[in-house]
């Protein structure tokens, strides 16, 4: 491959991730994210574009276990797009808070949450914010280059840390995330706190097109799930091929109210890839 071809390929990849993001120069902001102090005036996407970090290439995303719209023929990518469409249909275009939880540890709940966020972000009319509430086994921070950036724990523990400081760009256009934070000994009581409620409300109101995805702990932490599902509008339960049993699923379903239950995502079905 010649240097010119490589350059062209890189340019294509960059465009692919960026999609049709218009360059907005109207509002300047510094830091990793822009969050208005008042929720009364919803901001628009162009404001966010300024805060983007370097966008990741398709391969880089693939290495992090994330889908990329460039691989549109990939069945996994198609599946996440369909999932996004179904949720949008369900919410009738309104933004929503979606809790993603696993039937048990290792079912890939974080994978689904991260990629669902990516799928929302791929839609130019929508943005996505992923919150890592799996405090025992956090994983969202791995998507960041600097994994030690402040997160949810810091927000609860340190009054000096405000919302803007915990929202980080991930290298995908219109995609932000809040990590679990440095302090992992955070007590689950914080989920029931007013601060948590305030956080969710603020995030939800800040951008009307923002879909908030909570990466929840597995269903074994049933108390946390109940609290988080109260904060969320919808719940997705992730079961894994060759791991989850009927009994486990039945137990999970008792913890979530039927109204909020979107359904079950059956993850990790083996697929024979095309090998060239």
């Amino acid at each position: 491959m010649s240097k010119i071809e490589k350059a062209l390929s890189r340019a294509r990849e960059g465009r692919g991730n960026l999609q049709v993001v218009p360059v907005a120069a109207t509002m300047a902001a510094s830091g990793t994210a822009v969050v208005a102090n008042s929720a009364a005036h919803p901001e628009t996407i162009p404001r966010m574009a300024k805060s983007e970090v370097r966008l990741l290439s398709a391969d880089e995303l693939a290495q992090r276990g994330l889908i990329h719209p460039q691989h549109s023929e990939d069945p996994t990518v198609q599946v996440f797009r369909e999932l996004r469409t179904r949720i949008v249909q369900q919410t009738r275009g309104q933004n929503a808070v979606i809790l993603v939880t696993s039937v048990s540890k290792g079912c890939g709940g974080s994978f689904i949450a991260q990629n669902l966020g990516a799928a929302f972000a791929f839609d130019v009319g929508k943005t996505a914010l992923l919150i890592d509430c799996n405090l025992e086994h956090p994983s969202v921070h791995r998507l960041l280059v600097n994994a030690s950036l402040p997160g949810l724990a810091d927000y609860f523990e340190n009054p000096d840390v405000d919302i803007q400081k915990i929202i980080h760009a991930v290298g995908i256009a219109r995609y932000r995330l809040i990590t679990a934070g440095k302090r992992r000994e955070i007590l689950e009581e914080h989920f029931t706190s007013e601060k948590m409620k305030h956080l969710i409300d603020t995030l939800r109101r800040r951008y009307q097109e923002r879909f908030i995805i909570i990466d929840g702990p597995p269903m074994a932490k049933i108390a946390d799930i109940r609290i988080l599902s109260d904060l969320a509008d919808y719940v997705l339960v992730v079961a894994r091929y060759g791991r989850s049993t009927d009994t486990q699923i039945a137990n999970c379903l008792t913890a979530v109210s039927d109204k909020k239950m979107l359904g079950i995502v059956f993850n990790e079905e083996p697929r024979i890839p095309r090998i060239r």
Binding site: Q63, I112, Y241, G242, I264, F266, E269, P273, I275
Partner: protein
């Protein structure tokens, strides 16, 4: 689960557990190859013996004995062949004992027995089959089996025939003796009484009837005579008494009448006070008293001369004497008739027992049995009762039997695929962990929002590529190795 769901799940699972599948394929093939290599070549020699067996004793038993069926025949043959006698000979003949202690003979015999199969084909054909790794030994041992079996069976049969012969002979002798004895007794019986002879049964009966009738008549007569005698006895005694009484009263009455007449005459001349009249009156009175006394006297008047001389009495006595004579004669006659009757009955009995014994001994079946016994004895003497014929002689086995090496190779290939598939299918069916997404919706009435296939990262794809190449090579190498070994085995390089 629907069949297509199972098929799809099986394919997915095979890919998911590809390493396990390939490993099993290799292990199964290697195991089958080893098994095929170590599997001893087996040679089978067989022979069929036609057994035409007619039991000597059977026709004599008139169906009482049950004919031996095919099952019994093979069982019997097994008993004979697996007997220590034949097995010892075979052990020696097959050369198993060379260089081995005799303590091992038990174990060797058991092993040989396991390789020997005795079956019956149809009703009369016995098949002996022997498996061995050495074709020549298989041939020789089978031949020996047949030879020894026939030899042993004929010997056993001869013993049976001998026993049967002795039995029949003894029976025949007994019958003959009995017959002779009875005929002798009959002869004596016939000569002892002329009346007793064959066919005099009716005469005896007639005579017995006649005697009985005559006894009855005599008894009747006797009873009548006795009644008559009793009656005469009563009449004789009655006549004597009345005669005596009438005679004395008459005398009184005659005297009284005479005196009354004299009184009447005197009364014509004299008054009643006249002494003559008084005298006469007194006399009359006395006589009247005497008459009354006579009438009132209780004791029987002794028979006196006047009674004896009564003619009626004498007549009665005569008749009485005659009757007594008749009774005695009748009694003698009855005794004589009864004696005759007893004699006749005895004769009748003897006649009957003689007839019965004669009838028993001259019955048809006895004669037939005797004839059959004679036939059987002859059959036995001529060895006609039992024949063995080698229907199919033993041949030297040319090619081995049982699975060939290529069977193992082909079986290994097939089993190498089927075993992992079977295990995966079993896991699919038995493992509670879900492998078919649509089953969740059915079980929990909750929608399956989506089924997310595995997202292959570039690194994963790269390693998968290498893995697939490696596994394919392993499979191809396994198949090639098996085929090569099988081919070499066929062309006898190995």
């Amino acid at each position: 689960m629907l069949p297509e769901q199972i098929a799809k799940a099986l394919i997915t699972e095979s890919f998911h557990s590809r390493r396990l599948v390939v490993a099993l394929f290799v292990i199964v093939n290697a195991a089958m190859l080893t098994a095929g290599w170590l599997w001893p070549k087996g040679y089978v020699a067989s022979t069929s013996i036609l057994v035409d067996e007619r039991t000597i004793i059977q026709p004599l038993m008139q169906g009482a004995a049950v004919a031996t069926d095919a099952l019994d025949r093979s069982k019997n043959a097994r008993e004979v062949i697996f007997g220590r006698k034949i097995m010892d000979v075979v052990l020696e003949y097959g050369g198993w004992l060379k260089g081995k202690p005799s303590e091992e003979s038990e174990r060797l015999i058991e092993e040989i027995k396991k390789r020997t199969f005795i079956t019956t084909v149809g009703k009369n054909i016995l098949r002996i089959e022997y498996h061995d790794i050495d074709p020549l030994r298989a041939f020789r041992v089978t031949e020996k089996y047949a030879e020894l079996f026939i030899q042993e069976s004929i010997a056993a049969k001869a013993a049976e025939s001998g026993a049967a012969f002795a039995f029949i002979e003894k029976q025949t002798q007994d019958y003959q003796d009995k017959l002779a004895r009875t005929e002798e007794e009959l002869k004596e019986l016939r000569s002892s009484t002329l009346e007793v002879r064959a066919g005099s049964d009716t005469e005896v009966t007639t005579r017995l009837t006649d005697l009985n009738r005559r006894i009855d008549v005599a008894m009747q007569e006797l009873r009548e005579a006795e009644v008559k005698e009793a009656s005469l006895e009563r009449q004789v005694s009655g006549e004597a008494e009345s005669t005596a009484d009438i005679f004395r009263e008459g005398q009184y009455r005659v005297r009284i009448a005479e005196l009354q007449s004299k009184l009447d005459t005197l009364r014509l001349s004299y008054r009643d006070t006249h002494p003559d009249i008084v005298q006469v009156k007194t006399q009359i009175q006395d006589l009247t008293d005497g008459l009354n006394a006579q009438r009132q006297r209780p004791e029987k008047t002794r028979r006196d001369e006047s009674v004896v001389n009564n003619p009626v009495y004498q007549q009665l006595r005569r008749e009485q004497a005659q009757i007594q004579g008749t009774i005695e004669a009748l009694q003698v006659r009855i005794a004589e008739l009864q004696r005759q009757l007893q004699g006749e009955i005895g004769r009748g009995k003897r006649l009957h027992s003689g007839d019965a014994r004669l009838a028993e001994l001259t019955r048809d079946y006895l004669l037939r049995r005797r004839e059959n016994a004679r036939v059987s004895m002859n059959l036995d003497r001529d060895r006609q009762g039992l024949t063995f014929k080698i229907q199919e002689p033993v041949t030297l086995p040319q090619s081995p039997v049982g699975p060939r090496f290529w069977h193992f190779v082909a079986g290994g290939m097939l089993l190498g695929v089927l075993l992992p598939m079977g295990l995966l299918l079993a896991r699919l069916q038995l493992d509670p962990r879900i492998r078919v997404g649509s089953m969740i919706a059915l079980a929990h009435k909750v929608p399956i929002v989506t089924i997310v296939p595995h997202l292959w990262s570039p690194t994963e794809l790269k390693s998968l590529r290498w893995e697939v190449v490696f596994l394919s090579l392993v499979v191809v190498a396994t198949i090639a190795a098996s085929a090569a070994i099988a081919a070499m085995r066929v062309i006898k390089v190995l």
